[in-house]
Every structure is written in C-alpha cells, then in structure tokens.
Amino acid sequence: MATPLDADALDIDPLLDDPATRIVVCCGSGGVGKTTTAAALGVRAAERGRRTVVLTIDPARRLAQSMGLSELDNTPREVPGIDKAAGGELHAMMLDMKRTFDEIVETHADTDRAKAILENPFYQSLSTGFAGTQEYMAMEKLGQLRAGDEWDLIVVDTPPSRSALDFLDAPGRLGSFLDGKFIKLMMAPARVGGRAGMKVVNLGMAGLSLFTGALNKLLGAGLLRDVQTFIAAMDTMFGGFRTRADATYRLLQAPGTAFLVVAAPERDALREAAYFVERLAADRMPLAGLVLNRVHGSEAAGLSAERALAAAENLEDGGIVDREGGKVLDRDAPSAGPAAPEDGSPAVENPGHPRSVTTLGRAEKTETTTETAERTIAERTAAERTIPDVRSATDRTSTDGSTRDDGHGDAQGGEGGRDGEESRDSLHESRDGREDSAEVSVLAAGLLRLHADRMRLLARERRTRDRFMALHPDVPLAEVAALPGDVHDLDGLRAIGERLADQSRSAGPR
C-alpha cells in the first residue's frame, strides 16, 4: 500500500552513495534511536564503498563494544568486522566532551596560558557540567573532522537531549552566554561606560555589588573571579565562542550536509520532529527526511483487533463454565452432546456455528484451562480497564460478529461462504482427534490477544504518523520496523540499514 498523502519515500542508498554527501546528521529527541540509526548508516555507507566515520555520542554499552569502542576516545578507530569489498571503511569514535574542550584550549593558547585555563575551577565545571557543552563540543568535533577532509562521509549522532532543537540552539546559547553583556560588565567593572554602563548606573552600583556579593555567597567567593579570568583568557585566545559556534553552524547549512530527523511513532517524539523540521527550513538547513524508527507492523493486518479479541474470548469462555449450573465441569465429565444455546442468550461467540463451538469447548475443558484462562482474563482486565472502549468494542463485535465473520473488511474477504464449510470440517476432525489440548486453546487465545494489542498499537502509530504527514507532506519518510530485541551488534545494525533502504518491506502493511 502506498504511503498516505503521497509522501515521498526517503531513498537512503542514493543519499549515502552520492559523493556530494559529506555529512549526515541524525537528530531527534532522546531515546528514539539516533545513535542506532547513525551507526547503521555508517555501516551501510562503508559496506557500499565509502570511507566513513561515525561520531557517536553516548551509545549503549553493548553497541559501543560491538563497534570496538571501549571508552570515550576522540580519535576515530577502525571498526572491525566491516565488509570492505566495495572499497569502503568504517571508523568510529565516542565523543569525549571534556577532552574536546581541552584540545581547543591547548591548540589556541601557549602552554602556560593553557595550563592556567585548564586548572581554572570555572573552566572545569563548564567543561563537564554545563548544559549545552556537549552539543557545542559535538559541533566542534564535527567541524574538526570536516576540516581534515580525510573522510568521504561523516555521520554524526547528536547528544541525548530531551529536545531535538538543543543541538542547534545550545552552542549558540553557550556562545552568547559567554559573550554576554553581564559577563563583559563583570570583566571590566572599572571601565563602566557605554550603554551597558548606563544601565548599571541607573540600577545603582549598590544594586550590582549587592548582587555580586550575593552570588559570591551563593557560589563561593572565588567563582566569579575565576569566571572573569577564564573569559578574559578565552576571549583574547580565539575571538569568542559565538564566532566559533557561528562558523560550525554555517557548515551545517552548506550543501553536502543532510539532516535526518529520527523519531519514534509517538506523539511527543513527532512533535519534537515537527519543531525540528520547521526550524531546519527556517534556517535553510538541508533536510533529507524523517526516519520513523521502531514502527510496528503485522503480517496479519487483515485480522482486526476487535475480531481477534472476540475470538480470544471465544476460546477462553467457550464452555469453561457450565452456565446452567454455574460450576466448573469436572475434567473427567463425559463429553456432552450438542448443547442447546444457553438460556435466552444465544451463543453469539461464533454466530453461525454456535452449537458446535459449545460442544467442543465442553469436551476439552480442564481445571488448568479454567484457572489459566481466568487469570488471563483478570490480568487483561486490569490492563484494559483504563481503555474505556475496549469492552464495549468487544461486545459490539460479538453481536454483529456475523458480518465480520464472513471476512468482510478483511484482506481475505470474499471466501466467507467457503469458510463456513471448512469450519464444520475442521470441527469434525477435532472432535475425533481430541488432540486439541487445553494448552493449545490458551496459547491460541494468547496469540490472538497479542495480535489485538499489536493492531491497536499499529493503529495508534499510524494515526500519529498521519497527523505529522498531513502537516508536513513534503518530508520524505522512511520507516524502520521495531526489532524484537535491542540492537547491539553489526548484524543488528545491518538489519536496520537494510530496512532503512528498502522501504517496500519496511514495517509491513501501512
């Protein structure tokens, strides 16, 4: 089925193969799969022949290990196990933000000055704890890798910030903070003049010194002095943080850079993705597309959640309790003959063949079934009671199930007539064989409930995606199926890359 609203599919391979593509940035809110996607793209690009480096930030431990990264390290290392037949290579590194910062200082200041800065307590808290330093250093490192011109392709992961925009905003924020009025003012309290000075005069020097006094108390007396010394040293050293941040920002606008916004098919993640997409457009940054990661699909999408639930209930309820007596039947009770539909309430579990079903149900009941099934129902009820329409939806299915049962609206619609006969056949087989253990009923009911859950999840993901696509119809989209386990080895990364590239078989029916 085509992607709704005619959104373009995102073509990953041409993007990775194009020699003009030099930087791919994977961004998005935390936990959506940025690091995984970046690593998967790196593996794929390398195995398709490009000399690639992946700059990862904060990868899961096992993923890092599988790429041969055992610790923070600012030098790219070659990733073992990559197929180099096509002439590519993969190198990877894990950003060490403090080390990157230290290197900036060391490159730009003479030894004594550098030493003074590195030992400055304010520098130490800035380089490790400041919100935004990680983003700033990621940009810085990207700038360095690009300047070296050693790589065909640089794939960049972005820091695990809550908001995708932080990657774009934080460096500038840090820059303007460090270049800010107040800092300048504090650095030169004696040279008060100009507009900032006027404000201070209006404010009253008393107010300012009261404030700095208060800060000194709050922060410890030495800190403000440390800040002043630090800023002075940095400022003369390389012309301000702002300038530096701006330069890297321009690099991101250059042709040859491609942004991939990664998101999970969830409301919050897609809201972030939407902000990011709008922001990229506003800043004229090249968006390659949206990667919708961890999308669920089903090979049995023709079976609706409602029908699956109704069927599961059939299996669970079917003849467990002798409704006339209200008692559980003895497991040794001889198989009852075809039972009459219960008092007044027709056995709607399986409209069309109510009697056969009741019979069978009775024939196979055991204590175990009852217990397990009841426990399952209780658990489910707990899980579902917060979803107001589940029960009623199920009831609805039961009563108008006869239409659904024909397979209308199902992928397999059109063979309803024949199914009736098939069912009867199979029922006869079962009655003879008796190999249908209670266990199988429980298992089958479980599978159906699982499927119902899956279908509901799928519907919700689809709604969320469609809302995004309606607002951003021009954004090319690639979907990546949720793998059953975590992704922590090269094979897992290859599987992700495969899914990214092959959108026809991405996450099953859309």
């Binding site: 899961a60 704890g129 919100a131 800010g180 009025k181 209006n202 404010l203 009253g204 107010g207 009261l210 208060a214 108390k217 709050l218 922060l219 410890g220 800190l223 800040v227 090979e299 049995a300 079976l303 109704a310 069927a311 599961a312 059939n314 299996l315 079917g318 579990e349 399986n350 069309g352 063949h353 079903v357 658990e379 489910r380 707990a382 899980a383 979803i387 199930g401 397979g407 063979e415 199914d419 006969e421 098939e422 069912s423 056949d425 199979s426 079962s430 249908d436 266990e439 199988v440 298992l443 089958a444 479980g446 599978l447 699982l450 499927h451 859950d453 509901r456 919700r460 059953p484 386990g485």
Partner: protein, 331 residues
C-alpha cells in the same frame, strides 16, 4: 521521581501524585525542567509559576501543580535574603539572573530543591502540613544524585548565614525518611543500566533511593516458553482458531494462514519477554522494591493516567511500603 528521559518519569510522577491524594488528601506535583510536561499530560494551559489545582483524584483528593522557574525563584530568593527591591528586575534585564542561573548548574538546583522543600515544610494556620505529599518530576537518573546533593556543596561553600542555613535545612529534608527517591525505568538495556548506576550514586550520596518503577511492561503470554522451545504446533493452533470463529482450519484455509504470522508475533514477543526477564533480575538484585506498570497500548490519555494511579495505589498498599515519608497511611 527520576528516570531516564522517555521512560515515563512525568507520567508516573503525575500518577503517584494522584494516588497519594486518594482519600481526601492534597498533594503537590512539581515540575523543574521547564518542559510543561505536566500541563501537556493534564491537557491544560501551560502552568504559571504558581501553585494551582489541576486534578481531583478518586476519593476527593486534590492535586496541585507547580512549574518552578529557576530565574523567578532566584529573584524570590534574593528578595528574601537581600531585599534587592526593584534592582532585581533591572538585573534580570541586564541578563544577570540568566547569568547566575546558567553559570553554576548547581545554583539552579539549589533554587529548585529549595522551593520544593519549602512546599514540604509549609504549614497552615493550625500547624498542619499544607500538602500531604509533594511529588517532584525530577531531573533524569543521570543527574539525580548531583541534583539532590547540591545543597551539601552549597552549605560547605557558604559557611554561615542565611544561605548556609537554608541549604542545610533542604539537605535535612532530603536525607530524612520523609523523602523517597523512586526510579522509573523500562525493561530495556540502557534505562536499566542507568537505573542501576543511579541507585549506586544515590546511595553513595546518602540519599534515600526507595524503589524502582518498571513502566510500560508487556504482559506475558500464556504458553510463552513453548513458542521458543517447542516445534510449531501449526495444525492444533489452526484448529483452535477455527473453533474461535476465524474461518476454516483446512490446509491453506483462513485460520491456517493466520497461524504463521501470529506465531511469529508470538515468538518475537517471547524473545522480548525473555530479554526482559534478564533485565528484571538485574533490577531485583538492587535490593529495592520493584513495582510494575503495564503498557497502555492505546497510549496515556487522562483515563489512562487515573488507571496508572490506581495501579500504583494497589501495589503500594499490598507491599505496605511508603511511597513518600514515614506516614504509614500513605499508599
């Protein structure tokens, strides 16, 4: 309430505030990261820097909410201790307040924890606590020990005076049995690892790590293990499907065609559940109570939130442990 981003920290904090309000109590839900997550969750306007009622719990309890703004809190703080008057606003215009709250991440944290502790200690005219419990949607697991421990550093820096006293008072509350730090996690590798690291850091800092809340737990499937171990029982399952009214079990019939994809889904699920079991065991080894909240496959709307609150209340009642504080009557 802490947790790795995206694990449901805000959701679980809100559910706990609702649960603790049960039975005519009053709770305060505090947000400190300026995300307006609470407002989004309760589908209301963005919260101002002001306590206001946002929900009524089952049994007539009240939940108030507050989004603490660090800059405003600093102004209040300076006002209280230094009587800055209108100079405060001028400082703000100049960027001085921004400067101060950014320059030392610690200062922000002092202000945020200070404000929350003030709410904890606040009394009404009859000297009774205004709030029966204060639930904070705190910073993520990776930062929690530092966030809560920051006042210790401040008390050390400012040796005497009002700042010192305030910092000490905050630490007294945080380290007392009145405080409980709960860690929200998913049964996934990274959040579990962060949770284990977070517990160790909290303990090292003398802060009360109290429990782990595993969120978005998938239900186990009866007969789960068979899916991984036993060879396919395609025919039997096809018959069961047929009995359930899903079409004929004949070879190639509709019921049979459902078997393979559904079994595959079941196998994936079983594989996931097996992985989760390993992670769950790692969490249990931490020596803290572990509670679980189910995955709501329809997502968390308001109804879902109340459901989670009920779930939490039930679990706390059963275990007899405290969600917060020494007050045994709390859920």
């Amino acid at each position: 309430m802490t947790g790795k981003g995206g694990t449901g920290k805000t959701t679980v904090a809100a559910a706990l505030a609702l649960a603790l309000a049960h039975g005519g109590r009053r709770t305060l839900l505090v947000e400190v990261e300026g995300r307006q997550g609470i407002a989004q969750l309760f589908e209301t306007e963005p919260l101002p820097y002001e306590e206001r009622k946002i929900a009524v719990s089952h049994g007539n309890g009240e939940v108030y909410a507050l989004a603490i703004d660090a800059e405003r809190a600093l102004l209040d703080y300076l006002q209280t201790f230094y009587k800055l008057g209108s100079a405060g606003r001028a400082l703000k215009r100049l960027g001085a307040i921004d400067f101060a709250t950014t320059i030392a991440p610690g200062l922000r944290d002092v202000l945020l924890t200070g404000k929350a502790c003030e709410a904890v200690r606040r009394r009404d005219k009859r000297q009774r606590p205004v709030y029966d419990a204060v639930v904070m949607d705190a910073p993520p697991t990776g930062r929690i020990a530092r966030f809560l421990g920051v006042n210790e550093e401040v008390a050390g820096l400012a040796k005497v005076g009002p700042v010192h006293n305030q910092a000490q008072a905050v630490m007294r509350v945080l380290k007392s049995p009145e405080t409980a730090v709960h860690l929200v996690t998913l049964l996934e590798e990274m959040p579990v690892q962060e949770t284990i690291d977070g517990i160790a850091e909290l303990r090292a800092a003398g802060l009360p790590a109290a429990s782990v809340v595993v969120n978005m737990v998938r239900p186990e499937l009866p007969g789960e293990e068979q899916l991984l171990t036993a060879p396919g029982r395609t025919d039997e399952i096809a018959h069961a499907f047929a009995r359930a009214g899903l079409g004929g079990a004949r070879r190639g019939g509709r019921a049979e065609r459902l078997v393979t994809p559904l079994l595959e889904q079941g196998r994936e699920h079983a594989q996931r559940v097996r992985l989760e079991r390993v992670l769950r065991a790692e969490l249990s080894a931490q020596g803290l109570p572990v509670r679980e909240l189910g995955l709501l496959s329809e997502g968390v709307e308001l109804a879902g939130l109340y459901g989670l609150a009920r779930e939490l209340r039930g679990q706390w009642q059963n275990s007899g442990a405290d969600a917060a504080g020494t007050d045994g009557k709390h859920p």
